[in-house]
């Protein structure tokens, strides 16, 4: 923030702090005004910016797609309908390519994941100071505009996917089949401890890698934007150079933004496909 004299380190920290709502040390409920306060709130606190932005973006997605779905007909599609149908068709092709079972949940799930994460990631392309600045004018101490740079959001989605994977594994193979898959392979029943260890790691690695991949990519991208934004305070020459860098990084970031959304979606489909398949 340029209004106060901040050091670079403070500027970065400020940008990386979520708007957290929770129990303040005094016993009242309210917004945390520093990173320490947010930390002290413990688990029972909410990152209002993450939740707000993700719900806002999710609603945009659903409203646009719902408005198209309501008027969708086999006739000549309008502009928005065309665009929406293009995405739906793309998702449908991906699901058909990777998912061999029959489950009406998977394709809408993939669509939601892809578009929602894409929209969240796209927030990264907004200049880093715009939204925090507006939030500051509204009296909010922090505002992190990209929900996918908050591990809460990425882990929230990854754990939901993990829950679905476990649910469908048990549903398709039965509890015995699921437990058997965890305990009886790859070494047979005499290698049971090793089996549990290997398969357990395998199972847990799915949501963790899903969440951390998205979080890591977006966090790193955001960090670079923040570092570039620091250059704007360094005089006209460095500022202009920073502008060019920001533009270049944003262009490159469009690729990452789309790719990460696509990877999250594809891996979800693949994990669910594995959950539906009988092993051996």
């Amino acid at each position: 923030m340029s209004t106060e004299a901040l050091t670079s380190s403070e500027y970065i920290k400020h940008h990386l702090q979520n708007l957290t709502f929770g129990k303040l040390p005094g016993g009242d409920w309210g917004l945390a005004h520093s990173a320490e306060q947010a930390k002290e709130m413990g688990f029972w606190a909410l990152n209002l910016d993450t939740l707000g932005m993700s719900i806002f973006l999710g609603l945009i997605f659903l409203l646009v797609f719902r408005s198209v779905a309501k008027t969708a007909s086999a006739g000549i599609p309008t502009g928005v309908q065309n665009f929406v149908e293009w995405i739906v068709e793309f998702i449908d092709t991906s699901v058909r390519g990777s998912f061999s079972g029959k489950n009406p949940l998977v394709a809408p799930l993939a669509l939601t994941i892809f578009v929602w994460i894409l929209l969240m990631n796209l927030m990264d392309l907004l200049p880093v100071d715009w939204v925090p600045r507006i939030a500051h004018l509204l009296g909010l101490p922090f505002f992190k505009v990209v929900p996918s740079t908050d591990p809460n959001a990425t882990f929230g989605m990854a754990i939901s996917v993990f829950f679905l994977v476990v649910f469908y594994s048990i549903k398709m193979k039965g509890l015995g089949g699921f437990v058997g898959e965890l305990t009886l392979q790859p070494f047979g029943k005499f290698g049971l401890p090793a089996n549990i260890f290997l398969e357990g790691v395998n199972l847990v690695a799915k949501p963790v890698s899903l969440a951390l991949r998205l979080f890591g990519n977006m966090y790193a991208g955001e960090m670079i934007f923040i570092l570039i934004a620091l250059m704007f305070g360094g005089g006209i020459g460095i500022g202009l150079f920073g502008g060019a860098l920001q533009w270049a990084w944003a262009v490159f970031h469009i690729l990452i933004v789309t790719l990460q959304a696509f990877i999250f979606m594809t891996l979800t489909i693949v994990y669910l496909d594995m959950a539906h398949q009988e092993h051996h």
């Binding site: 709130m41 606190a45 969708a72 086999a74 882990f155 754990i159």
Partner: protein, 156 residues
């Protein structure tokens, strides 16, 4: 960057969004897509059929045209033949008529000739008799020589 209840909020939001998408977004759009695919396929098939029919019709038309041309040629040939025939017939008829007329003329000429000969014969006999009478009046009696005169007359 702390893990907190946002995690749970995000999960709940996630499930609500997925549910909504599965219930109200995906099926109608998919249905429209499937329907459109079918419509396009039908349209293409109809177009193909139309093209095929057009080809058939063109073939039939050209066949018809060919046939008509042939028929017309046949008719013309027949007409020409008939015309030649008519001319021939007319010629023949005319020739026959001419011949008939010539024959009748010849016949009448012959008749006239015969008649004229008869008349001449009678007259020659009379003249001969008259001549002989004149001669014989001077020399001989006509009655005495009558049998001679008749003999001469028959010789003519």
């Amino acid at each position: 960057m702390n893990i907190n209840a946002t995690l749970i909020g995000q999960s709940i939001t996630f499930f609500v969004f997925v549910w909504f998408c599965m219930k109200f977004v995906w099926p109608p759009i998919m249905q429209a897509l499937v329907e459109r695919k079918k419509q396009i396929a039908d349209g293409l098939a109809a177009g193909e059929r139309g093209k095929h029919e057009l080809e058939l019709a063109a073939k039939r038309a050209s066949e018809n045209l060919h046939e008509s041309k042939q028929k017309a040629a046949e008719i013309i040939a027949q007409a020409e033949k008939r015309a030649v025939q008519l001319v021939e017939e007319a010629k023949n008829a005319a020739k026959a008529e001419g011949d008939r007329m010539i024959a009748s003329a010849q016949a009448s000429v012959a008749q006239e000739t015969v008649r004229a000969k008869e008349a001449l014969r009678a007259q020659v006999a009379e003249l001969a008799v008259a001549g002989a009478e004149k001669i014989l009046r001077r020399e001989i009696d006509a009655k005495a020589h009558a049998d001679l005169l008749v003999a001469i007359q028959n010789e003519l």
